[in-house]
């Protein structure tokens, strides 16, 4: 059948490719218009002194030069990287555990799946407000539990120390995005042939062995795709942290996108663009690494 089609294509008109082009063209146009144009625009902008109250002029890489000696930006970069380094692995592990639970034959499985999805369905700004109420020093739920139940005996200022604020932000983010990981991994688990598992059971493998020897290798590509999504999402995180801590205390939870945003607001569009370009480059290189990793794994299976 396929060979047949190729045969036909050889004589000039090349119908299938033409059709494919027509179908792909709108998508390419959209990508060009809504992704490529802004990205290139930001790149160009980052090479200019583009401040609303100064003359616009070409300064080549000076914005980047300043970025790398800017302690505020370095702090933001460090925090953002540390943030994904801690929260993404946690989300992947927890999400996989949830997926395994949801995949198991338990009663009320449908309800469980629906419940797990709730945090993911709530807009980030709203869940950040909810967490703010939990962490609040004077009337927050966390302090209520800690003091009333006598765990500490005194209220804790959760968002007041760098470690506390970091932990608080990570917990909130893990709570919100674990369901996303769980759903994708669940889809991967459901594609694992049942016969393989029953065969393994018959051979006397225990649950851990089944997971590590059968499930995990088979869902690895799925996990890598999830990892990719979560890493990029984590790099450009804004709303959750912006609402929860406002970047404090002392700028210790300021993300790169928050930092760039501040400069846009202050009218320095060139510098803000340069910060965004750095974010883009980091995200892009990580994506390339993941994609390479993913290919290698699928090739092995």
């Amino acid at each position: 059948m396929a060979g047949n089609r190729l045969e036909k294509n050889r004589d000039g008109t090349n119908k299938d490719i033409k059709t494919a082009c027509i179908f792909i063209l709108p998508l390419l146009a959209l990508i060009f218009l809504f992704i490529l144009v802004p990205v290139i625009g930001t790149f160009i902008n980052s090479l200019f002194q583009d401040v609303s109250f100064l003359d616009k002029r070409f300064i080549f890489l000076k914005n980047f030069q300043q970025l790398f000696v800017d302690s505020g930006f370095r702090q933001a970069l460090r925090f953002t990287l540390l943030f994904i380094l801690v929260s993404v692995p946690l989300e992947i592990v927890l999400g996989t555990v949830f997926a395994l639970l949801m995949n198991a034959d338990v009663p009320l499985r449908g309800l469980l799946r629906a419940c797990v999805l709730i945090p993911w369905a709530i807009p980030a700004a709203i869940s950040a407000r909810t967490w703010e109420l939990i962490y609040n020093y004077s009337y927050g739920l966390a302090n209520f539990i800690f003091t009333e139940l006598g765990v500490t005996g005194w209220p804790v200022n959760w968002l007041g120390t760098s470690l506390g604020a970091f932990g608080a932000v990570v917990v909130a983010d893990v709570w919100k995005t674990t369901p996303f990981v769980a759903i994708i991994v669940l889809a991967g688990l459901q594609a694992v042939p049942k016969e393989l598992i029953s065969q393994a059971k018959a051979d006397g493998a225990n649950l851990l062995q089944i997971f590590f020897k059968i499930n995990l290798p088979l869902i690895k590509p799925v996990i890598i795709v999830t990892l990719l999504f979560r890493t990029i999402d984590g790099l450009r995180v804004f709303d959750m942290i912006y609402v929860l801590t406002g970047g404090g205390p002392g700028g210790q939870t300021t993300t790169i996108s928050h930092y760039a945003y501040k400069y846009f607001l202050s009218g320095d569009f060139g510098y803000g663009s340069a910060a965004s370009v750095v974010l883009f480059v980091v995200a892009f290189s990580l994506s390339v690494i993941y994609v390479k990793l993913g290919r290698f794994e699928t090739g092995q299976i």
């Binding site: 205390p249 607001l265 009218g267 320095d268």
Partner: protein, 438 residues
């Protein structure tokens, strides 16, 4: 053929797609009444209702149609909306309110229409406004670009009933007495109310922290000094005042530990209003709310100037919102007429009586009806004549960001005062050098 795709189908599909796109596009243009000008303003629902009411009155009087562009309450979001449309040179909105902290940025960017020409042929006399506010905030390089709709300045609220109970005669003039009174009252009141604190102020990492910091440093004779190409922040006065802010939380413990994480205007106001503090630093808007029917401290609140150190003067940071016209507006004359209406005696009086806000016109403060309903206006007038502005620089918000970050580091105990101020000065200097050449 396994997948017969005919050209005809594609054409039909594309046609349908086109139809859908067109339909959605047309749905976007709802039928709106023909408008002359667009006015952008944000705020709480009650405030927006008030503006809507004013607009209806203006439309009736002048025959000019005004479209209200509703903005959020959050100051940063309001600024973002305006920066986006002004940068893209949109004619809409024509006229809008601006926070005093961004006036210089907007003016230096050339986004604001100079008002001198309009003022000449207008009944509106610039003499009726607080002259200091006009000179320090509304003029940029000597050119009038905005006018104050309402002014703000930090004041000290105190609990009159607790003052009587502890035999304190009048609000303290010096921080020294202030701390003594707060420590004593807090210690005693804690026995019945464990949530009670001596003093609440705005210490979270945001613009309000800089306003508070300028008041503390100002009351010690310090502040931000610009000398030619240099910016000076790391001074002895600023060090001691910043140390005092730290001490309020960590040494005297009269301000709660969440001061530097959570305390913004509303958090402070609510805690004070619930009866959980002796002193409160806030803007004048809190007065009307403290005196509202449902307020537990109604009738027990006094207003005073903020205390000072022995070698400084009581300082209050200039805040407030100003009205200006977009350079890109195509209805500038009508926009100015709307401005005249907003700044008229009657409207400004209504602003005071309805919302309890402090008008930009100083002549309203002597109005008999206003004084009867808002007796604290008498003492506010003297506060407003002596306000300290934030540096009137187009890149002020970037300086503010640096100060926020370092003062917050001090309050959270991450950096020592000396180190923080010297780092802040270095970074601020970089900003001044980068943006400061004109």
């Amino acid at each position: 053929m396994a997948y017969p795709i005919r050209k005809k189908h594609i054409v039909t599909d594309l046609f349908i797609l086109l139809l859908v796109v067109c339909l959605t596009a047309f749905c976007g243009c709802e039928k709106k009444p023909v408008k002359d000008i667009t006015f952008a303003v944000g705020g709480a629902p009650a405030e927006l209702d008030f503006w809507q009411e004013l607009i209806a009155q203006f439309e009736h009087q002048s025959g000019i149609k005004v479209d209200l562009l509703r903005q959020p309450t959050d100051t940063d979001l309001r600024r973002r909306g305006l920066v986006t449309s002004l940068r893209s040179k949109k004619a809409n909105p024509d006229v809008f309110l601006m926070d005093v902290a961004w006036l210089a940025q907007f003016a230096a960017s050339g986004w604001l229409e100079p008002l001198a020409g309009y003022m000449q042929s207008s009944q509106l006399d610039s003499e009726v406004f607080f002259q200091k506010v006009l000179n320090l905030a509304d003029k940029y390089n000597g050119r009038l670009v905005a006018l104050p709709v309402y002014v703000d300045g930090g004041v000290l609220y105190y609990r009159k009933d607790l003052f009587e109970g502890f035999n304190i005669k009048e609000p303290p003039e010096l921080w020294l007495d202030f701390v003594k009174q707060a420590v004593m009252v807090q210690k005693e009141t804690r026995k019945t109310n464990p949530d009670f604190y001596g003093f609440l102020w705005q210490g979270a990492q945001y613009e309000g922290l800089v306003c508070n910091w300028l008041e503390f440093t100002g009351s010690k004779g310090g502040g931000i000094v610009l000398e030619g190409p240099d910016i000076i922040i790391n001074t002895e006065a600023n060090t001691q005042a910043t140390q005092f802010m730290y001490d309020l939380i960590h040494r005297f413990e009269i301000s709660p530990p969440n001061t530097y994480t959570e305390m913004k205007e509303e958090e402070v106001r609510l805690a004070f209003q619930q009866g959980n503090a002796l002193f409160e630093r806030n803007w004048p808007y809190a007065w009307a709310l403290h005196q509202a029917e449902d307020s537990p401290v109604k009738g027990n609140v006094g207003v005073a100037p903020l205390p000072r150190f022995a070698d400084g003067e009581s300082t209050s940071t200039l805040g407030g919102w100003h009205i200006g016209i977009s350079k890109y507006s195509d209805e500038k004359q009508k926009s100015f007429e709307f401005m005249e209406f907003i700044l008229s005696y009657d409207t400004q009086k209504k602003l005071a009586l309805t919302l309890g806000w402090n008008p930009g016109r100083s002549d309203v403060y002597t109005d008999a009806e206003v004084i009867e309903k808002l007796p604290h206006f008498v003492s506010l007038k003297s506060v407003f004549e002596n306000l300290r502005p934030r540096p009137n620089l187009p890149y002020y918000t970037l300086l503010s960001e640096v100060i926020q970050r370092y003062v917050s580091s001090v309050l959270s105990g991450n950096l020592g005062v000396k180190e923080a101020l010297s780092e802040a000065e270095k970074e601020a200097q970089k900003i001044v050098t980068k943006y400061g050449r004109e």
